[in-house]
Amino acid sequence: MSEGKKGALGFTQDTPIERFLNGLVVENPTLVLMIGMCPTLAVTTSAINGVTMGLATTFVLALSNAVISLLRKVIPDTVRIPAFIVVIASFVTLVQLVMQAYVPVMYDALGVYIPLIVVNCIIFGRAEAYASKHNVVPSFFDGIGMGLGFTCAITVIGLFRELIGGGTMFDVQIFGEGSVVPGAVGYFFSQYQPIRIFIQQAGAFIVLAVLIAIMNQVKFNMEKKGKDTSKFGVGGCCNDIEIKDPKKVKEELLAKEKAAALETKAETIKPSDIKVPEKEPVLAEQASKAPIKEVIVPGEEDKK
């Protein structure tokens, strides 16, 4: 990584602040990269669930990123996934036990999704794409940024789902019967009927879709104003991926197309090739069998 290269939002690449903002906004894991969808859709029935889940993930993400970054030269490439799992799982166990001891209510509410942080693809993705290739400090802040980006996104989703589907906000009744808002406004609010579908699974998809649409609209508006948005949503750690020479890519594609064309040609020839020898005397059929067989074999293999 060359010094002074511009990263997200104009900050120098791989500095803590750049990594932090990158995770929070530019490559927001939920709304831009669209990874970690399982907890995003499953636990966001309320805002407090979102906050807790997000913070637990942030903790695991930051520390596992740091440790994996420290060990990146020790871990052999071939067994890196098991090694990552061991590191991540130890932090998840830590989080799980602490939550069980100090916030048992949230522990019960989140249930199986806490141990499932181990296989959360945000954590894996960052370990694989960033922490295993970069220094400790940026990796740590990358984890914090990504984690908080995730926390913000799922808290907002949880907030809307809770408000529309249950009329509450952080368990305080805003809309619907028993609204805490006083006066005439409160009476008006208390008439609200919660739309239950938003508490259920389908509501998660609807809210998420709306948020992603807003995010895309923001991006679109920025592009209109002529700002550089090429760093948005490239996926993974985009800055490290070598951009291929367009000419080479074209050549590769052409070669592939040629190969495909050859294959289809061989297939179209087949039926007629087979038919001709059937009508001819036995000797001729035997003679022509050998070369034809070679043509048929690749097609058969494809089918199997």
Binding site: Q193, I195, R196, Q200, K270, P271, I274, G299
Partner: protein, 316 residues
């Protein structure tokens, strides 16, 4: 002479059938059932139908104005959606229920996916299921001044006696448009005679549903039970007016039969084994979702083209 010299691309011969034409006939065919609903449930039913049609049409209009698209409310498809949605609500529904449903049907199910022809499920049914999941108590409150008994299907499920004659005429509690079998069949006959719908989907749907109920309903060939299952709920309205929706049903003949059987079996499963008495709307929605799959596997072979792959397999 100048007309003769005009050069244009085909098609050169066009029929007078247009989208708005067809939709208008569907509206007309729905009127008997809607009219009976108003007669049966009174002014409340009329208000709900009007609100629901107004909300669907207005939503489509406002959305298209805001998005600077061509305004398509003239094709009457929004009216059909609104009417069907209203006919799928109980007359006790509060005034805002048809409005929320109408907005959801048009905005989310239809316009966001690209408007008429692009919707992946029947907008009216999508909205009905949305409301059913969101407000289960309001959507299944069929108790009015005239009717205090449960719907025939619910009564049947609880093992009570039901009157078949009342069901066929429509003097039963239920949603606004589903109660009268006679009115629905009159409307369906209009559409069938005009060639707008054919019997492939409704026929196989109803037939397979009857077979399923006979086999698994637990009452065998009991005439009262079967006719109550046919006339006591939304099956007729669903089979003739919603399963036959052009956009969300298969276009291939084989596909239509598969689709009909699929709907019949699903409805049977929901009604016989499910916890609620009704299951038509969920069955049709799930059916809508597998339509692309059905069409993919029932594409007819084009004339003159050999099924190449199959022959190869035989030879090998």
């Amino acid at each position: 002479m100048s007309d003769m010299m005009k050069v244009s691309s085909n098609p050169h011969v066009r029929s007078g059938v247009t989208t708005s034409n067809i939709m208008m006939w569907v509206v007309i065919a729905l009127l008997p059932a809607a009219g009976f609903g108003i007669y049966n449930f009174g002014i409340d039913a009329l208000i709900i139908l009007v609100l629901s049609v107004a909300s669907t049409v207005l939503t489509e209009f406002i959305y298209e104005i805001l998005m600077q698209k061509k305004v398509t409310i003239g094709d009457f498809s929004a009216v059909v959606t609104g009417l069907l949605l209203g006919m799928n609500l109980p007359c006790t529904a509060p005034w805002w229920l048809p409005i929320i449903g109408g907005v959801f049907a048009i905005l989310v199910v239809k316009m966001l996916f690209g408007g008429l022809g692009q919707n992946f499920m029947n907008p009216a049914l999508g909205a009905r299921c949305f409301l059913l999941i969101s407000f289960p108590a309001l959507m299944t409150n069929f108790t009015t001044d005239t009717y205090t008994s449960p719907t025939p299907l619910a009564a049947l499920k609880a093992g009570e006696e039901v009157s078949v004659i009342n069901m066929i005429i429509g003097k039963i509690p239920g949603t606004i448009g589903e109660t009268s079998m006679i009115a629905i069949v009159i409307g369906a006959c209009i559409l069938i005679m005009l060639g707008i719908i054919d019997l492939k989907i409704p026929g196989t749907y109803i037939a397979s549903f009857v077979i399923f109920v006979v086999l698994f309903g637990g009452h065998g060939l009991n005439g009262t039970y079967i006719s109550a299952q046919l006339a006591g709920g939304g099956l007729m309205l669903g089979a003739f007016f919603m399963a036959t929706d052009y956009v969300t049903s298969p276009i291939t003949t084989k596909g239509k039969y598969i689709y009909g059987v699929f709907l019949g079996v699903l409805t049977g499963i929901f009604r016989v084994f499910g916890s609620s008495a009704e299951g038509v709307s969920y069955a049709i929605i799930i059916g809508n979702l597998i339509v692309p799959l059905i069409e993919k596997y029932t594409i007819p072979r084009a004339f003159g083209i050999r099924p190449v792959e199959k022959k190869e397999e035989k030879k090998a």
